[in-house]
């Protein structure tokens, strides 16, 4: 048997990989004199296994290594194709996923133009250019693609609005603001396959007659910006920005940290260099947008789907998904589960499949999932058979949103979670509409009172009363959806609110106001680590915790080698 050799090695160095230490692994590998290349690649979506290294063999197969440490032992193990730390995609996850949009993520070097083209890149653009613009718009309409930025508006229809405009200058904007805390689909796509997003934009520009292309990307994503810039230069060098008789300008603008700038009219204001406050629609951006010109905004993932539709045809795309929601969807899966990461599934996959089969969450330890971030709602585990599509989630008072999906475990408090979201929205409210500005603040203050043990039953009625009013009295989606996390938790987890108010009890032992720290002296080995680590000296030499002093920071609980320190209901075990 001839020995199988390594042909090349790929290291995933997207942001998550780097955060886990992939850059150091890459450096160590490159410091070795190796007879093959060591390449950088993007994200495979298996964040829990980062740093992830792929050894491509000369027989065409690959061996993956997970959680690789930047030390010689781990590097030697890979170079020897050792058995240690080998990684395989969990079979359950593999059977549920359908990788279309992310097909090249983690498989190619994001900064290598040729690799993208060799793997089918720009074939979609080529086909589009062989059709008339109207045919391209129609193809996208037929595919049934809906906007992935949260609203779910039919993409082809939006394109036809811009195409119908007969003006000199038309603007195309890619919304890469991804402001939902807990979402990273767009970041991964831009970091790993920037050309795919840009190809989608070029196709859209051809179809709609756009002349100027903007990408509005949040400044917190330096790697995405870097990769997009490199890709744009390559596009210019290959003259792919000439579509029909037009030469297109592609401009990247960095956001400056305001959630509301993801809303399209606010985004346009920000692009114009102003404060990012939304305005009343109509006029819609496709009538009057950036500096008065007709402008169309699509999300990163929406554009990322377009090359597939043009390459494989609308029919193939529409064959995936449900009646009203076609294609696949990316989800950023995080929170209380074993295998957090980026997943891609056909529309209509159930929450149960995503959270348990793909995410590997423990069914006995999960109570809800939050979709759609601060604009969304939480869905209790009893309803996990809900298929994930635009319409089913809406019925539950949640939304698909852009695809952030946070799994909430039994040991988390739902009231505190709602408080967290309102803390976010009341700070991010731009202040233009009174109901949003004052209403979200009142909601937040009420929730603060409840988690601090000063809530009253009338507070619950107040929250239920003001929520719909904020919805009705706000101009943009921020205010219109801000009450969702509160109203949804009140609907599905009302008992937790009542417990906080009536019994001064937080079932999850999370809210500090209702908690004492308790040290089980019977099991204590008197190592004194807790005493040394308490930042405020609340633990005495004989291991008594002074709960009047203690700030419940958990430092002692975390450091205790025997796990003898617990959070218990206030006053119960003293």
């Amino acid at each position: 048997m001839s020995k199988i050799a390594i042909k090349k090695i790929r290291v995933g160095v997207a942001s998550c990989g780097v955060a886990a230490g992939a850059d150091a692994v890459l450096e160590l590998l490159r410091n070795r004199a190796l007879p093959f290349t060591v390449e950088e690649t993007g994200c495979l979506g298996h964040c829990y296994a980062e740093p992830l290294v792929e050894a491509v063999l000369d027989n065409g197969e690959s061996v993956f290594y997970r959680n690789v440490k930047a030390d010689d032992r781990d590097i030697d193990n890979i170079l020897a194709l050792g058995e240690k730390d080998r990684f395989e995609i969990p079979p359950k996850r593999k059977s549920k996923e359908l990788i279309k949009v992310l097909a090249l993520a983690g498989k190619i070097d994001p900064t290598n133009f040729d690799e993208y083209v060799e793997n089918g890149g720009y074939a979609g653009l080529k086909r589009a250019l062989s059709m008339t613009p109207a045919e391209v718009v129609n193809e996208v309409k037929l595919s049934g693609l809906r906007g992935r930025g949260g609203g779910g508006f039919p993409t082809g229809t939006k394109w036809s609005f811009l195409a119908a405009k007969d003006t000199q200058e038309k603007i195309l904007i890619c919304n890469a603001d991804e402001g939902d805390p807990g979402a990273f689909m767009d970041r991964s796509l831009m970091e790993s396959v920037p050309h795919q997003v840009l190809e989608g934009m070029l196709i859209a520009a051809y179809a709609t007659g756009a002349t100027k292309l903007f990408i509005y990307c949040r400044a917190e994503y330096p790697m995405a910006i870097k990769h997009l810039k490199i890709a744009i230069e390559q596009i210019y060098a290959h003259r792919l920005n000439t579509v029909g008789d037009r030469v297109l300008e592609i401009i990247i603008k960095e956001g400056a940290g305001a959630f509301v700038c993801g809303e399209e009219t606010a985004l346009i204001a920000s692009l114009e260099g102003q404060r990012g406050t939304p305005r009343f629609r109509p006029p819609f951006p496709t009538d009057k947008g950036w500096q008065g010109h007709p402008s169309m905004i699509n999300n990163v993932e929406t554009f990322g789907n377009v090359p597939l539709i043009l390459r494989e045809g609308a029919e193939a795309f529409a064959a995936i998904g449900t009646e009203g929601s076609k294609g696949t969807k990316l989800f950023a899966l995080a929170g209380d589960l074993k295998n957090p990461g980026l997943v891609e599934v056909p529309m209509g996959t159930t929450l149960r499949e995503i959270v348990f089969d793909i995410g590997g969450a423990d069914p006995d330890k999960v109570k809800a999932v939050q979709t759609g971030g601060p604009s969304g709602g939480c869905i209790p585990v009893e309803l996990f058979d809900t298929p994930v599509d635009y319409d089913s989630l809406k019925k539950l008072g949640a939304i698909m949103g852009s695809g952030g999906m946070i799994v909430i475990g039994n040991d988390r408090c739902m009231v505190e979670t709602a408080r967290y979201f309102l803390d976010f929205t009341h700070r991010e409210s731009c202040g233009k509409c009174t109901f949003c500005r004052v209403g979200t603040t009142r909601m937040f203050e009420t929730l603060e009172r409840i988690v601090a043990g000063q809530g009253e039953m009338s507070d619950l009625a107040f929250l239920e009363d003001i929520g719909p009013k904020i919805r009705a009295g706000s101009l943009c989606g921020l205010g219109q959806t801000a009450p969702n996390p509160v109203l949804a938790t009140l609907r599905f987890f009302r008992h937790e609110y009542e417990e906080h108010v009536k019994d001064h009890r937080c079932e999850a032992m999370q809210c500090d106001a209702f908690v004492d720290m308790y040290l089980d002296r019977a099991k204590c080995i008197k190592c004194k680590l807790c005493i040394k680590n308490c930042p405020i000296g609340a633990i005495s030499d004989d291991f008594a915790i002074d709960n009047t002093k203690c700030t419940k920071c958990n430092a002692c609980k975390e450091i205790c080698p025997k796990k003898t320190i617990f959070r218990v209901k206030k006053g119960e075990l003293l």
Partner: protein, 150 residues
């Protein structure tokens, strides 16, 4: 124009680039000083109050000089669920400053940010832009020590 701010000239002085100009200032100086606000107003031919208006709207802009090492605690949803509040408390204990502040020696500054997009490694924080994941108290203290000696 103040020679210090000549780098602005690389940017087209149309008002739609105002935010870009402010980002360039912060990129070079680490924050936006009163002096630089006047320079930006001059360069883009807009009133100072308009620059202040834009500046104060966006969370990214800092008005006080940050420390040598800038720590950003992520308080995105995943990090919050995984205990970012405690990470913040530990940092406050260690450094003696709250988010939004810089320590007396000018070595560290602390801030809370909405989301660093590394949710699957929650809780995370970044120091000078480098992200550190799956934090616990031990690793937080260790990371601080590393930077103290840098």
């Amino acid at each position: 124009m103040n020679r210090k701010y000549e780098f602005l000239k690389k940017i087209d002085p149309e008002t739609s680039n105002l935010i870009k100009g402010l980002q360039a200032i912060q990129g070079v100086e680490g924050y936006v000083s009163d002096e630089s606000i006047s320079a930006v107003a001059d360069y883009f031919s807009v009133p100072v109050v308009e620059v202040e208006g834009v500046l104060s709207f966006y969370a990214q802009f800092k008005r006080v000089k940050p420390g040598k090492h800038q720590i950003a605690i992520c308080d995105g949803t995943a990090c919050h669920i995984k205990g970012s509040t405690q990470v913040s408390e530990w940092l406050t204990f260690e450094l003696g400053i709250h988010p939004g502040e810089t320590d007396k020696s000018g070595l560290f500054s602390l801030e809370t940010v909405a989301c660093l997009g590394c949710c699957s490694l929650a809780p995370v924080m970044s120091v000078n832009g480098r992200v550190y994941g799956t934090l616990d108290r031990k690793s937080v203290v260790k990371i601080l020590k590393e930077y103290e000696n840098k």
